[in-house]
């Protein structure tokens, strides 16, 4: 059964529409991220789920019951959820154990039971030895773990995370991504995770909802999102890519320097006259010599416009003769081409994704 349902959720501030007709359904135990640039409405959505804000229209349901609608909104304290905030919001006047036990205390759990559960969860997040410390004496990563423990220990119906890792340094961030996923695998709490960092979303999520300007662009599993972006925004936001424009010409699409048979471009609908595709830089192979014609591949001549050596790989900017098109391609460190050197490129046509 679906755990959390957002139905036609909309929120406006004056003339500004922060969230526009948002639909999302989470299954029990699922972790879904809301991913998008700042100001795309993801935090607003989260705060509506938490009950800090009422929707302008649309509803939010948990277990089939409406908890938010424009006319009535259950206050946050009645929603049996928990949330991890960008600032962690660890109460500086309470010790680690008091922070973690607070939710249980409010829920009138007996004190020895609180103690037991607090100890257990602190062990889980490797903070058992710090239970009597005050937050000011903890590092950022430890505070983050306290926030996690505090949110999980109450066994919330839904767990909400608002950019929880944005205040950590890069190494710690990578470590905490896995930590969050590990805890999710262990407790299977239905979770909504807000972030602007695609790597974070890819590591932690079952599905990702990419948002832009208050609207959902695409909701998909991380792999599908990267491999089959449906919109230009998604293709550009998740990883790097090249956009190429082509014209439908009989049974093939002509991209200037090369053409691709129509049937090779997978798409649900019929192809329009003007076709736009995305191709990832690592799907473009560079060759010194002209490759043999092969089924499912297309090839073209190009010229290196400029290049950068980044240690792990080469970053090439390629000019297709006779067009204004510039393609970015990445190549292994040993594939060295000079600037202005003519090269051949070869692309697996299955890697093209048609963009709406």
């Amino acid at each position: 059964m679906s755990k959390l349902v957002l139905r036609n959720l909309t929120r406006t501030f004056g003339d500004f529409t922060a969230v526009d007709n948002f639909n999302l359904t989470l299954q029990e135990g699922e972790l879904v991220s809301l991913l998008g640039p700042s100001g795309c409405g993801k935090t607003t959505t989260l705060r509506m789920i938490a009950g800090f804000m009422a929707p302008t229209s649309g509803t939010i349901e948990v277990d089939g019951e409406v908890i938010s609608s424009p006319t009535s909104s259950l206050p946050p304290e009645k929603r049996k959820m928990s949330m991890i905030f960008q600032s962690y919001a660890i109460w500086p006047n309470m010790t680690v154990a008091e922070n973690v036990g607070f939710g249980l205390q409010v829920r009138k759990v007996k004190s020895d039971e609180i103690r037991r559960r607090v100890d257990a969860i602190l062990e889980k997040v490797q903070l058992g030895h710090l239970r009597e410390r005050y937050p000011a004496e903890l590092s950022g990563g430890q505070q983050q773990r306290v926030a996690l423990a505090r949110a999980i220990v109450v066994k919330p119906a839904v767990l909400l995370l608002d950019e929880p890792l944005s205040n950590l340094d890069a190494n710690l961030r990578e470590e905490m991504r896995f930590e969050i996923r590990r805890l999710h695998d262990e407790f299977r709490i239905t979770t909504v995770y807000v972030t602007h960092d695609q790597a974070e979303a890819m590591v932690t999520s079952d599905r990702i909802a990419v948002m832009n300007k208050g609207r959902v662009e695409q909701i998909d599993a991380p792999y599908a999102l990267y491999g089959r972006p449906q919109t230009r925004f998604v293709a550009g936001f998740i990883g790097r890519t090249n956009f190429i424009e082509g014209r439908l010409n009989g049974d093939a699409v002509d991209f200037g320097g090369f053409s691709v048979p129509k049937h090779a471009l997978q798409t649900d609908a019929a192809l329009p006259q003007e076709v736009q595709v995305s191709i990832r830089p690592q799907s473009i192979h560079l060759l010194k010599h002209e490759p043999a014609v092969a089924y499912g591949r297309c090839r073209a001549q190009a010229e290196v416009q400029r290049r950068a050596y980044l240690g792990e790989y080469w970053d090439y900017y390629l000019r297709l003769p006779g067009t204004a098109q510039i393609l970015r391609a990445t190549a292994r460190a040993q594939d060295v081409f000079d600037e202005n050197e003519p090269v051949w490129i070869e692309i697996d046509t299955a890697q093209f994704t048609v963009i709406r």
Binding site: P76, M83, A89, W91
Partner: protein
């Protein structure tokens, strides 16, 4: 909830001001509309003269403050002058002395005939009469200047502290010497702050009641505040006083508006606080003259008055000088314990100031919370904070007349009770409480409260378990910042006290014409000691810069 807050604000702020305006247009007996009060207030040459005197006083005192304050601020902020600590401590000391106590000190120093300085001149030159007479306009300007210049120092110093040395280096490298750089680069950069300070000091000078009353009355001239007070001599002519207070109120509001315009104007980018490296300017042989000047100012404002006050407070008779056999603790003992009048006044001072601080902080805190957490619409929030900050631009003496006009008659007869004093103090210092509460609440991330609520606690639980414990310290500091000025408040108290509700400041003023300077000095010394103790507690609670926050607000 916010309706209650509005109601309280109407009671404390709006109603007194409204009544002030209404009363100024009312016939005292019938309550009919009349312009007679205004005609009365502005038709006599004496009254007009007092207005002129206030203007002269304000301009002269503010200018003197600049002469005193600017070199000190520059020396403290930008140079390698020695003994900066000593100078800074005596400036803080000047803050601590209530202005009217400074006036008492200067009466002891430069009173005609018996003043210490006059006696010194007579003793050294053999002249028949000392040259100094404090009971004069120059005397009054000097006294007010001495106790207002710290504002200039604080304003100018904090602006100077933000000017990065690189700006001066840029001028130096283009061939401009230190002196020229200071005049053409540094000074213009801090000019807005200086102008703002000038306005503040001007307003302070024209709104003061204590010092002019102690000095101008014996000197047989009036300024606006003393003239207002005289309208209250029996039988009180409230209507005329209200009419007469209007220019003071309007000038104050206008100048505060102007001051805001000046300090908020953009373009002076160096004041954004982006720092950069700061090096003190080496003064070379000029450092001794500069230090000398700084110490001279500190002597005038702090050391000399404080010395003669201590002497008088601890002397059997102050005129007998600084001899050991003249020492006694009797004055202090008598003031604190034996004399019922002063004993009650001491007690009253504490209770009123404490209650006023409590009321002001509670109210300010509620409003700051409501406004900051946006529990009400934006326009309601703006109204709330506007009303709360409004007393800032109302001179204490005008507020007192408003309170008198509003609450001396049924249905709300508060006059003569302790409440009118407490409420007037609370209103007067409400802006200080609000500025501090606001800063305190802003420092608490709302997510801390959101976290309580999402875990199942109500807003009230959040306030009780998280907000209140976190605010404890800063509120204690805010309490002290309201308590201190409330213990020494004179200009509102003088209009609102009755025989049973005297406070130390009123008593000090009341006893001044008896010439019992030992007792005056004792009362003053007690006030100073209370203040110092409180400030030390404040330092412990909130760190060393907490005194400056109320001006920064």
């Amino acid at each position: 909830m916010w309706l209650l807050a509005i109601a309280v604000l109407v009671f404390l702020v709006v109603n007194p001001l409204l009544r002030l305006l209404i009363v100024s247009f009312q016939q005292p007996d019938t309550g009919a509309f009349t312009l007679a009060n205004y005609v009365d207030a502005y038709s006599r040459a004496r009254y007009i003269d007092a207005l002129g005197h206030s203007l002269v006083l304000g301009l002269a005192a503010a200018t003197l403050c600049l002469l005193f304050g600017l070199p000190l601020a520059w020396a403290l902020s930008r140079t390698d002058m020695p003994a900066k600590g000593l100078v800074w401590v005596s400036i803080l000391g000047t803050f601590v002395i209530p202005p009217y106590l400074g006036a008492v000190g200067w009466i002891l120093l430069a009173g005609p005939n018996a003043g210490w300085l006059n006696r010194l001149v007579i003793a050294t030159t053999g002249a028949e009469k000392g040259p100094f007479n404090i009971y004069s306009m120059p005397g009054l300007v000097l006294v007010i200047g001495c106790y207002s210049f710290p504002y200039v120092v604080v304003f100018a110093k904090s602006a100077l502290d933000l000017v990065s040395s690189e700006m001066e280096d840029a001028a130096n490298i283009l061939g401009s010497g230190n002196f020229r750089t200071t005049l053409s680069i540094t000074l213009p950069l801090v000019l807005p702050a200086i102008l703002a300070a000038y306005i503040l000091v001007f307003l302070e000078a024209i709104a003061l009641f204590g010092s002019p009353a102690l000095i101008a009355l014996p000197g047989r001239f009036h300024v606006v505040t003393t003239q207002l007070w005289q309208f209250f001599e029996y039988p009180p002519r409230v209507g005329v006083a209200a009419a007469y207070a209007m220019p003071l109120l309007c000038i104050t509001i206008f100048l505060f508006w102007l001051q805001r315009r000046i300090t908020h104007r953009k373009g002076y980018v160096s004041l954004t606080g982006k720092g950069g490296e700061r090096r003190p300017i080496p003064l070379g042989r000029w450092k001794w003259p500069l230090l000398g000047y700084c110490l001279f100012v500190c002597m005038l404002s702090f050391f000399m008055p404080m010395m003669v006050i201590c002497q008088a407070a601890l002397a059997k008779a102050w005129g007998r000088g600084f001899a050991l056999d003249n020492l006694t603790l009797n004055n202090l003992y008598f003031t604190l314990f034996e004399n019922t009048l002063t004993r009650n006044a001491t007690l009253n001072t504490f209770t009123y100031a404490g209650s006023a601080a409590l009321i002001a902080i509670t109210l300010a805190l509620c409003i700051a919370y409501i406004v900051n957490r946006q529990l009400v619409g934006k326009s309601v929030g703006n109204t709330l904070s506007f009303l709360t900050m409004a007393p800032f631009v109302i001179p204490g003496i005008v507020l007192a007349i408003g309170f008198y006009a509003a609450y001396t008659r049924p249905p709300l007869l508060l006059y003569g009770t302790a409440w009118i004093m407490i409420l007037a103090f609370a209103t007067r210092f409400l802006p200080i409480a609000y500025a501090n509460s606001n800063a305190a609440i802003r420092s608490i991330n709302p997510e801390l409260e959101d976290a309580v609520r999402i875990l199942g606690g109500t807003r009230f639980t959040a306030i009780r378990r998280v907000v209140a414990p976190l605010l404890k310290r800063s509120l204690a500091g805010a309490f002290i910042l309201v308590f201190i000025p409330a213990t020494r408040e004179l200009s509102a108290a003088i209009f609102l006290y009755s025989i049973n509700t005297q406070v130390l400041s009123v008593l000090l003023f009341d006893k001044s014409d008896e010439g019992n300077f030992e007792m005056l000095a004792s009362i003053g010394l007690i006030l100073v000691i209370i203040t110092v103790v409180l400030i030390l507690i404040g330092f412990r609670l909130m760190g060393r810069d907490f005194m400056l926050r109320r001006t920064a607000a």
